[in-house]
Symmetry: C2
Subunit: 253 residues, 2 copies
């Protein structure tokens, strides 16, 4: 029995600047049902307010309290520890970290920095980590679909620094079980009464399963043929969020 549904955003509700066909209506059906709904995203190319604006412009009816972002989780983690992060993040979200003292950094934060993943910037991150600075990752996603092509996400770059400096990153956001549970704690549902719908077989589906949550992989966004064979465990695979919602509202989960 599913009481709560967790939706990934990019690749599930939209690709680039375009809504997935039927996604608007599917989200509306869930919002109108007795199911609790949360949106959880690792995206680190947009501020929280831009993310909410873009969802609204696309026509999605989303309550800001329903949205959990890895960027917010990373900010809280750094704030709680009073750290001075070197923020290797996208220029669009640099402003989200303006409250932090970033002089003489004693931590490294890595998001999806895109072109800012330069040789110089990565060398700086590497040397700080080799010197003992904790490495914090905004998600661990391998790639995403920009709407026109697949692009590297933060995960491979975090992996590079982990390998170079022989350290292990603390990953905030998906697939961290803590992040899934934090989103669920704002609902009345237990983990096994929740379903995660995502296009990332590792970050969304495997992450959810490891957190005791049910999983549903959609064949949109970054999905590639055969992705469902890349992980162990029982989960649904459906054509899109429309089919996922049919499945849930039809009581077939």
């Amino acid at each position: 029995m599913i009481n709560a549904i967790l939706f990934d955003l990019s690749g599930v509700l939209y690709e680039g600047d375009t809504a997935i066909p039927g996604a608007l209506q599917s989200v509306e059906r869930v919002q109108a049902s007795s199911l609790e709904i949360r949106f959880i995203t690792n995206t680190s190319r947009k501020t929280r307010s831009k993310l909410l604006d873009d969802l609204r412009i696309l026509g999605f009816k989303v309550n800001p309290d329903q949205v959990f972002t890895a960027v917010d989780a990373a900010k809280s983690w750094l704030q709680q520890r009073g750290l001075r992060p070197y923020c290797l993040v996208h220029e669009n979200i640099q402003g989200e970290f303006s409250d932090f003292d970033q002089c003489d950094p004693n931590a490294v934060l890595m998001g999806d920095a895109a072109e800012a993943f330069s040789y110089n910037n990565l060398n700086r991150a590497f040397r700080l980590c080799l010197g003992g600075a904790p490495l914090v990752g905004v998600g661990y996603n391998r790639y995403f679909n920009s709407g026109s092509q697949l692009l590297l996400d933060a995960g491979p770059y975090i992996k590079a620094i982990e390998f170079a400096a022989s350290v292990e990153a603390t990953i905030l956001g998906k697939p961290s079980a803590e992040f899934f549970h934090q989103a669920l704690a704002s609902t009345t549902a237990a983990a096994d009464q929740a379903l995660m719908v995502g296009d990332d077989v590792f970050g969304d589906v495997e992450g959810a399963l490891n957190a005791g949550i049910q999983g549903c992989l959609v064949r949109t966004g970054k999905y590639q043929t055969g992705d469902e064979c890349k992980i162990m465990g029982n989960f649904h695979t459906v054509d899109s969020v429309v089919e996922a919602v049919e499945l849930i509202l039809g009581g077939n989960c």
Copy 2:
């Protein structure tokens, strides 16, 4: 009983443009002895001829036949298979691959590309590998000492693409056992009669031990305090190549 000695170059004989104190004399002593000597390097910022020129300018007496490079090993591997590589390598060595058809690539070659490790270039490498192109790495080194600071080497970037595309690279050069054995095959020594002297505890020392060769770690170049605790197995740790040569010529290996 040691009959052959394998020297790494950067970080062992020189750092940046400066010879390690005493290194010239130590190499001369070995060249004048009955020991066989080989130089094996993963460097992919210099062509073979530039490497030999720089050694000569620094004053090292080296026979070209004694030098084995990972770049040469990678070129042979690609040639033998008739592949069309996308060469994500340093601009200095692009010319080494001018004989290859690089249109419509069906393989990815990654060396220490430095600033050429841009987001765009890495996205291209990733998409080719995700589509099935084999990934070939020139060594798997994590970092090196440029003479003034530690800089990322090819290894972390290869790791990033391996993770992104869920593939495993073929590593030519160290720490591939095949590469060590190829250098040794040009001597009369068996593996256990040879000693590898290097500053990279993974690529040089662990690689040699896995190939059945004895290992000696020097505390110059990229060496960081505690490196000798990062791998298992028996090997020597000495202050520099001078002490390594003392050890060997004194019969203490």
